[in-house]
């Protein structure tokens, strides 16, 4: 192999592809199926698969493709499965670890036609990448996040225990991504503490991004 074949994150052997030591079978099968597929059809299928990865409903698109008599259903399913797996595996690796040339080289080894390699590369390394990563982040393990945050400032004028209260207080309502809602009171003194801490969190996050020593690169 030429010396331009750089080492990739996966596998110790310098000949292994970004897909690992053993190429997943659905990708190998897909590679065979792509041989006499026309590019227009390929692009239609690719578009639908990318849609699916983004979490969108692509049943209509797939139905339209399947109804095209030129492609038998079995062949279509092999192509779809292989494409999906290939893209998922490539998107999993950060762009700092897997470079476009290496990606293309690995696909050439699978004997995937050159024009299809270009199309695959445009998905993995193009400007759609950020959106695809955002979806993957959403699907990962996470704690609930804040979906909705409302607040109200009240002043208690008078209460059953205190004829003249004149006490401001903040009422907060949070709706979380897991569907739970929390409503609670925050006394003004506690609010100052809360606000200070949130500002501190933001500062920490900003600082973290600036610290280049923590940018983990291969």
């Amino acid at each position: 192999m030429s010396s331009s074949h750089a080492k990739v994150a996966v596998g110790a052997s310098k000949d292994s592809s970004f897909l690992g030591g053993r190429i997943p079978s659905e990708i190998e099968i897909m590679a065979k199926q792509l041989k006499d597929l026309d590019q227009e059809m390929f692009r239609k299928i690719l578009k639908a698969v990318v849609s699916a990865i983004e979490g969108k409903d692509c049943r209509e698109a797939m139905k339209a493709i399947a109804e095209n008599a030129a492609l038998p259903e079995e062949r279509l399913s092999y192509v779809v499965a292989g494409m999906y797996r290939l893209l998922k595996e490539a998107l999993r690796i950060p762009t700092s670890s897997l470079k476009q040339e290496v990606f293309k080289e690995d696909l050439r080894e699978l004997r995937i036609p050159e024009e299809f390699i270009t199309d695959f590369a445009s998905v993995v390394f193009g400007n759609r990448r950020t959106a695809l990563e955002a979806v993957a982040t959403q699907q990962g393990p996470r704690l609930p996040s804040l979906k909705d945050f409302r607040w109200r400032v009240d002043v208690a004028i008078s209460t059953s225990s205190l004829a003249r209260a004149l006490q401001p207080s903040i009422l907060m309502q949070m709706k979380l991504s897991d569907g739970k809602a929390h409503r609670f009171e925050v006394p003004v003194s506690k609010f100052q503490e809360l606000r200070y801490n949130v500002a501190l969190i933001l500062k920490e996050m900003n600082d973290l991004e600036k610290r280049s020593v923590l940018k983990i690169q291969d």
């Binding site: 990563e133 982040t137 990962g140 609930p144 607040w151 225990s161 009171e185 506690k190 606000r195 933001l202």
Partner: protein, 206 residues
């Protein structure tokens, strides 16, 4: 502590002298006890305990009457959250009352001293009685750097994990854990600035 003396001793604002200090001590103790029961939720203090410790020589009835009277006076003062001027006017009026309804000068002095030192705490307790929602008791947080995930996704992104402690006094707290990305923290901070503006407007007006 000198024993009972009469006549020429100097008297303070309420007309009290050294001799009155003894009675004062018991009354101060009683007022403290009342506050513990009514405002500070101290279950260990009882009426019986107070009588035995502070007024062992009184009969049950005599003590009960005194206890109720002091409790009533304290309640009036607390509900109105009296300031110095109001308190003086109130107590002066009480000292002028005839019969058992009134208070003596030394009792007025004890009440005045007591309120000066307990006013803030009693007020806080009363405000708490009108809070029905759980309150924010505290928060802890940390910022992590997410480097990778099983299904991929953006790498090297800071993630803030926040734990809020919510609850009411005397009850077990709820702990709510959330995660935030930078954009979300920014959003929340903006809302907090709005809240601050709102508070400032109110405080300024009052």
């Amino acid at each position: 502590m000198r024993g009972h003396t009469h006549g020429q001793e100097s008297r303070d604002l309420w007309g009290c002298n050294m001799a009155d200090v003894e009675t004062s001590k018991s009354l101060t103790g009683l007022l403290n006890g009342i506050a513990q029961i009514v405002y500070y939720n101290n279950a260990e203090i009882t009426e019986e305990l107070l009588k035995n410790e502070l007024y062992p020589d009184l009969t049950q009835e005599e003590f009960r009457a005194m206890h109720e009277k002091m409790k009533g006076l304290l309640k009036s003062i607390a509900t109105a959250n009296m300031d110095q001027a109001q308190l003086e006017a109130f107590l002066t009026a009480q000292t002028r009352k005839q019969g058992t309804g009134g208070v003596s000068a030394e009792q007025a002095a004890a009440l005045s001293r007591f309120w000066k030192s307990h006013r803030a705490r009693v007020r806080e307790s009363l405000l708490g009685q009108s809070r029905w929602e759980p309150g924010l008791k505290g928060l802890t947080w940390r910022v992590d750097l997410q480097t990778s995930a099983s299904r991929g996704g953006a790498t090297n992104i800071p993630v803030a994990l926040v734990e809020l402690e919510l609850g009411r006094a005397g009850e077990d707290s709820d702990f709510v854990c959330l995660e935030f990305d930078e954009a979300k923290v920014n959003q929340v901070l903006k809302k907090m600035a709005e809240i601050q503006e709102s508070i400032d407007a109110i405080v300024h007006r009052s």
